[in-house]
Amino acid sequence: MTTTTLKPRRHKPKRSTVLTIGMLAAAAYFLLPLFWLFVASTKTSQDLFSTFGLWFSGDFHLIDNIRLTLTQDDGVFLRWLWNTLLYAVTAAGGGALLAALAGYGFSKYRFKGNRTMFMIVLGAVMVPTTALAIPTYLVFSEIGLADTPWAIILPSLVNPFGLLLMRVYVEAAVPDSLLEAARIDGASEFRIFFQVVLRLLAPGFATVLLFALVHTWNNYFLPLIMLNDPELYPITVGLARWQGQAAAAGGASGDLIPLVITGSLLSIIPLVIAFLFLQRYWQSGLVAGAVK
């Protein structure tokens, strides 16, 4: 309160209860399905049908459900989780590094075809996933890479949006004078990048990495067409397969439903945690992207 009297010109408005209630209601809508998911994964399949969905039944069955999920089909769920992690980390890490290198190259060097190449890459965003995935599948089966982890990792390394973001970020965060100074000191172009530039790009890099991580973690279409071997599935395709089996069998295999639900809960926890902990990074990165 004293600050307002000190600065009389700054209009310090009162908090609005109506707006707060409105925003809380909105947040409730977005959190409701996740709350339901948590409640549902504490229930046996009988309780799912016989008790109210948005509240717990007396019987807390979460640990049992997790155990059932992890041991179903000889522990294939853990295998899927590991695959997802492998695909997401390699594809996102590699993709972010490629985007950072190229974003820096496009931003700070003049060479023939700079603009043309950049525009072609940006235009790539418009191409429908199927238009790309069908021929990629045919090429990969031709050279024997379909139904291997490479079939997921290699195509996911291309990240046009990451390139755009990195270029914008380089322009905002890397001053030319610094590069000139490093050159006068006799540092090679690559040393400049890895020892000076990369450090300045850390927040932008984290943003690209995080969004690429989400993108690969959530990828469904590519593994759906590329992989036949259930041992290679990521979680998304694996859970969809369980769900398909549960739906096809109707009531008879109702036992799979708690596994789909608990598996869904388990698989979203890592990403939600990553977003919460890396907040500072992705938010500052998005500001840089949005300023453009």
Binding site: L31, P33, N114, A131, L132, I134, V260, V272, V287
Partner: protein, 312 residues
Amino acid sequence: MTTTTADRRRQGTSPRTFTAHRHRRGRLVAGYMFVAPFMIVFVAMFLVPLLYAAYFSLFREQLVGGNVFVGLENYSRAFGDDQLWTGIGRVCLFFLIQVPIMLVAALAFALALDTGLTRLKRTTRLGIFVPYAVPGVIATLMWGFLYGPDFGPFAQLADKIGLSAPDFLSQHLMLGSLANIVFWEFTGYNMVILYAALRSVPTEIYEAAAVDGAGQWRIAWSIKIPALRGALAVCMIFSIIGSFQLFNEPQLMKSLAPTVIDDAYTPNLYAYNLAFVGQEYNYAAAVSFVLGLVILAGSYAFMFATNRRSRR
């Protein structure tokens, strides 16, 4: 933007000219070296498959005689294919309903947060954004259960008060149910982009406007929304691309409502089924290119329309 180093070099602050000149050649090569890894992967994983698809979309597989060159026949078939155009019409309708609602909601949330008038700002912002971190597959499975007549809470609530819940998975409501899933997944993402753009507007402008007696509504309408034009355009382009490529949600809903969602419910689903169920790779490639053309046309039409308006 990329010319700054070069310009400075050309002006030539004298003691540096010699070193700069010596490095010039090395630097030209370095530029290519930096973009090369990305471009090589891009060419191998993007341009090559795309050109290959363009090539084999000109053929037809026959039982006798293998692949036969048919020119643009697959394309003329696609342009006259009712199933494809019904799907395109459906995603158009989806786009016209879902995207305005989503972007208006995202804009309203971003503006509300930016006024600084709400309590629990961090909690609400994260709560609205968190669905973005949930895989589309899981979002769809979850909403599928929630919509369901067996143990979905809506059906249970309606049952309790003696009514029957609307059948969310019926012919009439399916598109709306899918739109709700996409709304749930992406509103927070768009909100964060718009909110980030709002944070970069210098606050002095708001203070000056407040001194002039402008209220929050007036500031939002006359300063903030115009300042968001660029960010809104980005959100819009991504939404056009996303809507027309709708695939995961209907593909997964198919197991819950097999009679409502047919093989050609959306263009991408159609291309997928043509290729991987019917083994009609050639025609599927042509269908995806036609869809790509529609997306391109839609995006350009949007950019053209907004450019004209801002110039006026």
